[in-house]
Amino acid sequence: MAAGDAIVGHVVTFGRVLHEAGLEVGPGRVADALRALDAVDLERREDVYFSLRQTLVSRHDELELFDRAFDAWFLRAPVLPPARARMPEQVETSAVVDLADRTQPAGDDDPDSGDPVELGASGQELLRDKDFAELSGDELRRLRELIARIARARPQRHSRRRTADPRGDRLDVRRMIRRSLRTGGDPVERPFRARKEVPRKLVVLCDVSGSMDSYARALLLFLHAVVGTGRGVEAFAFGTRLSRLTPDLATRDPDAALARCTEAVVDWGSGTRIGASLRQFNEVYGRRALSRGAIVLIVSDGWEREDPELVGREMARLARAAYAVVWVNPLKGNPQYQPLAGGMRAALPYVDRFLPGHNLRSLEELAAVLAGIERRHAA
């Protein structure tokens, strides 16, 4: 049947076009599309359109793309799938700024070490409230242990499955009844079950652009400690583009980890393209469900150089997938601070908790928030 073969050819080609454009169209979907076309009247363009759309598209935000591709295909116009931003090539560059130089600014050769005021409990107290931007390299090293302790407070979630647990909160009636058979129906034993707690996924996106420079090293220490808490943590850095840091931070030694991060991130201290970076995250990693049900922690001053609207759009997408979104902005530590930067303003409607993060005390607050955060409830 030549006509049938022609349709198969068309649909397979069309599926490939959609796949090129970024839709997830596998052989299963193409087979469904063919079965659907078999069931409807091919003379009616509307029915053909919906049959293909309902079998090949599974997300609302792919509809526009589909429509364009469908028009092109159906009207036999040249097929030009809209270009999606590709993951930029990770260029190795020798112009990478050495992190060691950043932690020890030139001319600051350790004047603070041995300062008697900063030893002991009161010294620690002072350190807690000191703005990260004002810390010396040595102070930063002393903060390490404290930061690691804060990072260990991972948010938990309840697993759906209950397991036997003598301190559980729910009577295991099924087991009780079965055991009571041995004792003539008297429930002598009272087995309990409890929901297992498992750590909730945590995704951290850290701004390392120029405007965040003075905070980046303290926050990277925090990231390193968080990644060290185990499975389900993903860390990314962004300036003008996104770099995945999880494998680099997985090294035990913080110095080695930070050094590796410096190599991995090509745009230290550059400008910021928050919107584009978020889009890259959503498209590359959100697609693999990395952000689904996760707590997403964004650390940035919200200083978008290019397109605040894009920030809003991508934040909406991110927030939909995430369990909750927490934004840490070191500038918020200043009592006079107002979220006036365009990017920050666009992002705020999608943020569940907005926190400072400019000193140790605010990191403690962050850890407390992460441990007790509730799911955002969409209207």
């Binding site: 058979l181 129906g185 995430a322 409830h377 209207a379």
Partner: protein, 294 residues
């Protein structure tokens, strides 16, 4: 299958007082023809749940609804043992002459929606409502049920569906669903209806409503949807509102009556506050101009 074409199904749905657009009719038709679940997404109030009810009506099938929420578990979605009855039975039987099989028989089983849908002898439309509210683990479990249409109860064995229910899933898109679940289902996005269709729906659902009033109400709601509201009104709100206006004996809308009845269209205080005085008068004017003459 009972319906030979999309037209036939569309016609049957219309007779059941449900006016689907062509896309929705196609989705429901394909769901039956391909025996695949259909996932309906769209803003609140566009008639996702209504679609399942209407489908059950035209198929002469029983509608079984599973309303999802965070924390929904097997005991509430699939089955549970009737413990009080089991305990009473143990008491009645007295000294240990009881066998375990007796106690875990079908008469002690409480069937929740999923098991009920699979166990049923009659045709069933299974509505899994607001799946985006359930936990991810439940979604994974649901995926299993929807692939095999069978459920295993340790004490009883595996129960296989005698006839596969028609399955409709709805989501308000508060989160993305698993790709695996989406792959198993047809996907249809329901947008707000065209103004002509909305007028038609209002006239069908509000008996005796003046044509002009239906047109102006639909046009006004359309103006509202163009604003940046916390909760844009759906078709359900248009119907409620037209009903209220009709009960007040109105033949058309003006700023005063809109002000009085706005509460049946906008459900959030901020939204009501955003639409008053000049904004309201402007929208009423725009709606009266835009409403198609009957």
């Amino acid at each position: 299958m009972e319906f030979g074409s999309i037209d036939e199904l569309e016609e049957a749905l219309r007779r059941a007082d449900y006016l689907p657009d062509r896309g929705l009719a196609t989705a429901l038709y394909l769901s039956l023809a391909l025996s695949k679940p259909v996932l309906l997404e769209g803003e609140a109030g566009v008639g996702k749940t209504e679609a399942a009810k209407a489908l059950a009506t035209v198929l002469g099938a029983r509608l079984i609804r599973l309303q999802c929420y965070e924390g929904l578990d097997v005991a509430h979605a699939v089955y549970e043992w009737n413990y009080p009855r089991q305990l009473l039975h143990i008491r009645a039987a007295q000294e240990g002459t009881l066998r375990e099989e007796e106690l875990f028989g079908p008469e002690y089983l409480i069937r929740r929606p999923l098991l009920e849908a699979i166990w049923s002898d009659e045709p069933v439309v299974l509505l899994i409502d607001e799946i985006d509210r359930a936990d991810e683990e439940f979604e994974a479990f649901l995926l299993e049920v929807l692939s095999d249409f069978q459920i295993t109860i340790p004490e009883l064995g595996t129960i296989v569906a005698k006839r596969r229910p028609a399955v409709i899933l709805t989501s308000n898109r508060t989160r993305e669903l698993h790709d695996a679940l989406k792959r198993r289902a047809l996907f249809h996005w329901i947008g707000h209806p065209s103004i002509e269709r909305e007028i038609e729906i209002v006239r069908l659902r509000v008996p005796g409503v003046p044509e002009r009033l239906a047109a102006e109400a639909a046009a006004f709601v359309r103006e509202l949807r163009a604003l940046d509201l916390a909760k844009p009104p759906g078709v359900a709100e248009t119907i409620d509102w037209a009903m209220a206006l009709n009960a007040l004996g109105r033949k058309e809308i003006d700023a005063e009556v809109v002000q009085q009845t706005l509460g049946s269209v906008l459900k959030y205080r901020e939204d009501v506050d955003a639409v008053r005085d000049e904004t309201l008068s402007r929208l009423v004017e725009a709606a009266r101009t835009a409403a198609p003459a009957g």
